[in-house]
């Protein structure tokens, strides 16, 4: 950010974004294996950038719903990857060679370390072999009312303190002793000494220290494979954006739960609004403002409780969209590219999400009517989606190609479209994913 010619604060959002795009196109930390790899990398990134800017690229770019399917292709599963960090490397490398051309590719995603997860438990997550069958292809989020209805004020009083002393012990037996931590806002460092005299608290830190070798191995492994993939000429879409989601989901997913937050919409709407406004400000101040230059400016934001069936248009307008929109605007203002991932169906919502700057947001849709999406927001936002996951996973190659062709016909005209799946297809056959690439090349040339 500091190496730009013009003062960052004085730049328009488009200028900031151009800087970030330049960095995406010319990654200083990647050593390409060949000039060919570098050329392909630039072509691929350019394809995405043009689509994002609602311009026509050479052809429709593809965001393959690969997920962790290479693991299954290589005879392994999520459980294997959780314990054998190197195994993923071998398989992913082979998969990449076997697959051929792709517009983007990533290393294993969301694969926690098995050994660390065994120790640092979480009631919010079930993992293969840890609450789920060993061969489960995905983890399972366990919702609950982890934050009580009367704790909004406590959270807003000091959110990090609340997180560490209330939520962590409540959602993880490993962190149970943190409930005995003194308030972390004390201006004296001696509270930490007092805390470290508690054998339970000490044990937490000692265990985390003891596991650091494992943690480093795991982090290095993930970095290595992604560096390798980049060097082969495959850009990343998910690389390095800030972690963000809708403020409504922040409270609805991990804190109050679906039941809790829907009760709050009726029983204490003002509190909920105050908390969402607060969370929004916090996210902008700590995670968005002055966000560093990273490998890609695209920020995927999974959305949950605002979909067509979860609330009415009126509720969406009152509770969900205003803070999500404000968050997107803050990202845009930093030159970032928010990519809300609308899980479920957003067909009703389309008319409500048009009030963002042209080409600022990229919408990734799951079950939304894409023809309608193109019609309503196609002039404003690049759209991504949405070959049904069922077809990608279980359909024939021809069915996949047909679905892609239809989508391209409906959405590609004039640019601003990325062909993608409705969700990650974790056990998708390689042929079906290759069929998506083929379809883009066959039907998606501008």
């Amino acid at each position: 950010m500091n190496d730009t010619a013009k003062n960052w604060d004085k730049m328009t959002w488009q200028e900031k974004r151009e800087e970030r795009f330049k960095r995406w196109l010319n990654p200083p930390d990647v050593k390409f294996v060949s000039q060919e790899a570098e050329k392909l990398y630039k072509e691929r990134v350019t394809r995405f950038i043009k689509a994002i800017k609602l311009e026509e690229p050479d052809r429709v770019p593809v965001m393959l719903p690969t997920g962790n399917s290479p693991a299954y292709w290589g005879g392994a599963n999520l459980h294997t990857l959780m314990y054998d960090y190197k195994k993923g490397h071998e398989i992913w490398k082979k998969y990449m060679e076997a697959f051929g051309d792709m517009d983007a590719f990533h290393g294993p995603g969301f694969v926690p370390s098995g050994r660390i997860s065994e120790v640092v438990t979480s009631k919010l997550q079930k993992l293969p072999g840890l609450g789920l069958p060993e061969d489960a292809p995905m983890y399972q989020f366990v919702e609950g009312e982890y934050m009580k209805a009367d704790e909004y004020d406590l959270l807003m009083l000091d959110p990090s303190d609340y997180n560490m002393r209330v939520m962590m012990p409540r959602t993880s037996d490993f962190f149970k002793a943190f409930e005995r931590l003194p308030p972390l806002r004390a201006t004296y460092g001696n509270i930490w000494l007092a805390a470290m005299t508690d054998p339970g608290i000490r044990k937490i830190f000692q265990t985390l220290i003891d596991m650091s070798d494992e943690q480093i191995k795991w982090q290095m492994a993930s970095m290595e494979i992604n560096n390798y993939i980049r060097s082969q000429g495959y850009p990343s879409l998910f690389g390095g954006g800030p972690m963000a989601g809708a403020p409504f989901d922040h409270f609805g997913d991990a804190l109050r739960g679906t039941h809790g937050i829907f009760m709050d919409m009726y029983r204490q709407p003002e509190k909920l609004h105050a908390a969402m406004d607060y969370q929004l400000k916090l996210m902008i101040e700590t995670s968005i403002k002055n966000f560093p230059m990273t490998s890609s400016p695209v920020c995927i934001m999974p959305l949950h409780k605002g979909d067509d069936t979860f609330m009415s248009d009126k509720q969406f307008a009152e509770f969900y969209w205003p803070t999500l929109r404000a968050l997107c605007l803050a990202m845009i203002d930093e030159g970032l590219v928010p990519m809300p991932f609308a899980e479920g169906r957003y067909t009703n919502r389309l008319k409500q999400i048009t009030d963002t700057p042209k080409s600022g947001v990229v919408w990734w849709f799951d079950q939304t009517d894409m023809k309608e999406a193109k019609r309503v927001i196609g002039d404003i936002c690049c759209i991504v989606g949405n070959v049904p996951t069922s077809i990608v996973m279980k359909g024939t190659v021809q069915q996949v190609k047909d679905a892609c062709r239809q989508l391209i016909e409906d959405c590609a005209a004039g640019g601003g479209y990325i062909l993608g799946g409705g969700a990650s297809a974790d056990t998708a056959p390689i042929e079906n994913l290759q069929a998506m690439m083929d379809a883009a090349k066959e039907y998606g040339v501008y």
Partner: protein
């Protein structure tokens, strides 16, 4: 409790806390010790409630003096907890008093060195070996541009920005990621431990804590012995005026005085943010200690530091809010007005009847008694006289103070500040005066 805590008036809550203070559930050395303990606590609670006790209570004005009295000095007892205990117990044994303070502010030197504590100097560490007191090291530990970060997420700010500047051991915490985006995702929290410097921080804290336990056990034992012998603790917790929270530790005097002109809105916002933080902290420590008196040393609002207009705009409103927050929890704020609060009397009288103990350093006590006639006041034999004067002088000054302040109750006899050295016979003179002249 028959009535729910939340439904009680502040007076009812306070009565509950007074009851707990009166019967601390410990084993006294003798029935006599228990009787004396209750007499002493009652003396204070009556003075607070503006009821007449048997005589004027005395808050014995000592800080580090027991070290010198036992033939050691502060540096010695900061390094040797055995000697620390020996000195404080000797003092306990040798002096009659209405209260006893364990040496919880005589910090362990080894621990401070291990964590490379930067905001205090102590004997042998920045001060001469025989220095009688510690020295606070003010600085601009929080930058002017960091108000928003503090306001948005105090724990996060203090952890990642302030602590690394206040002690060397916490320097690596500068590299920590914000805590809140990882709500309920432990993986985010675990990631920090891959950094060897951060691991080192925790390892050093482990060692320092082991040392701190030895010290804390000695202090705790001294406190228990004092209680068992019949001497109540009159210091149940500590709090601060929000202006001082920002001015002392974070921005420093220079910083905050500039902020009053350059960014008054941010300063106001930050102080408002710190009110509930200050209240909740004091409530926690009072619950743990069993004594409801919250000691609040005041610094930057004193006469000479700002005008009455500035005091009314910047200092008093949030400070009053903190005190009211304490009062509403049944606690008794005891602001210690260091410096000269005479210009502030008309402003600070705006508190509920009998809710507060105002402890004054430099003050025309007759004037204070007149203007604050609805609240308990404490003070103010000059500490210069306590340290260097003769017992007869001290006794005479105490007599004058009792004559002016004691009528109708609401007075605690003490000095204008605490003694770290000087003529200990003056302490005996003060007690004598209370007994001789202070009987109601």
């Amino acid at each position: 409790m028959a009535k729910e805590w939340a439904d009680m008036t502040w007076e009812e809550k306070r009565e509950e806390r007074f009851k707990q203070w009166l019967s601390p559930g410990i084993k006294f050395d003798s029935p006599e010790a228990e009787r004396l303990y209750k007499e002493r606590v009652t003396r204070f609670t009556k003075a607070i409630k503006l009821e007449k006790p048997d005589r004027v209570p005395v808050a014995i004005p000592v800080q580090y003096l027991p070290a010198v009295y036992a033939g050691y000095d502060l540096g010695t007892v900061m390094n040797d907890y055995g000697k620390l205990k020996e000195a404080w117990l000797k003092f306990l044994n040798d002096f009659d008093a209405d209260s006893f303070l364990p040496p919880s502010l005589v910090f362990p030197a080894k621990v401070l060195e291990m964590i490379d504590y930067k905001i205090q100097k102590w004997p042998g560490h920045g001060l001469p070996d025989d220095a009688p007191s510690h020295q606070f090291v003010e600085g601009e530990y929080m930058l002017a541009s960091e108000y928003d970060a503090l306001i948005n997420d105090p724990a996060d700010y203090l952890l990642r920005h302030f602590l690394p500047r206040s002690a060397g051991v916490f320097k690596p915490f500068e590299k920590l990621a914000p805590l809140t985006p990882f709500v309920a995702i432990p993986v985010g929290y675990v990631a920090q431990f891959a950094d060897p410097e951060i691991r080192k921080t925790y390892e050093t804290l482990f060692d320092a804590a082991q040392e701190a336990v030895k010290w804390a056990m000695a202090v705790g034992e001294i406190g228990q012995i004092g209680l068992s012998a019949g001497f109540p603790n009159i210091w149940g917790g500590m709090s601060q005026a929000p202006f001082d929270m920002v001015g002392d530790f974070l921005r420093g005097t220079h910083g905050i005085m500039m902020d009053m002109f350059k960014r008054p809105d941010k300063l106001h916002e930050a102080m408002a943010r710190l009110v509930p933080v200050a209240v909740s902290e004091a409530v926690g420590s009072a619950n743990a200690s069993g004594c409801p008196i919250i000691f609040i040393p005041l610094h930057k609002g004193t006469g000479g530091f700002m005008s009455n207009k500035q005091f009314e705009e910047f200092y008093w409103p949030t400070f009053k809010e903190v005190m009211m927050g304490l009062v509403n929890e049944g606690l008794v704020p005891m602001p210690f007005a260091e410096g000269n609060y005479e210009p502030r009397l008309e402003i600070i009288k705006d508190m509920p009847r009998s809710s507060t103990i105002w402890f004054f350093e430099h003050m025309d006590m007759a004037k204070a008694k007149k203007i604050l006639n609805h609240t308990c006041i404490a003070g103010n034999v000059p500490v210069t006289m306590m340290v260097t004067g003769k017992p007869a002088e001290v006794k005479e000054r105490c007599r004058q103070l009792i004559e002016v302040c004691a009528p109708g109750s609401g007075y605690i006899l003490t000095a204008g500040a605490w003694m770290d050295m000087g003529n200990h016979e003056n302490l005996r003179a003060m007690m004598e005066a209370a007994k001789e002249y202070g009987v109601y």
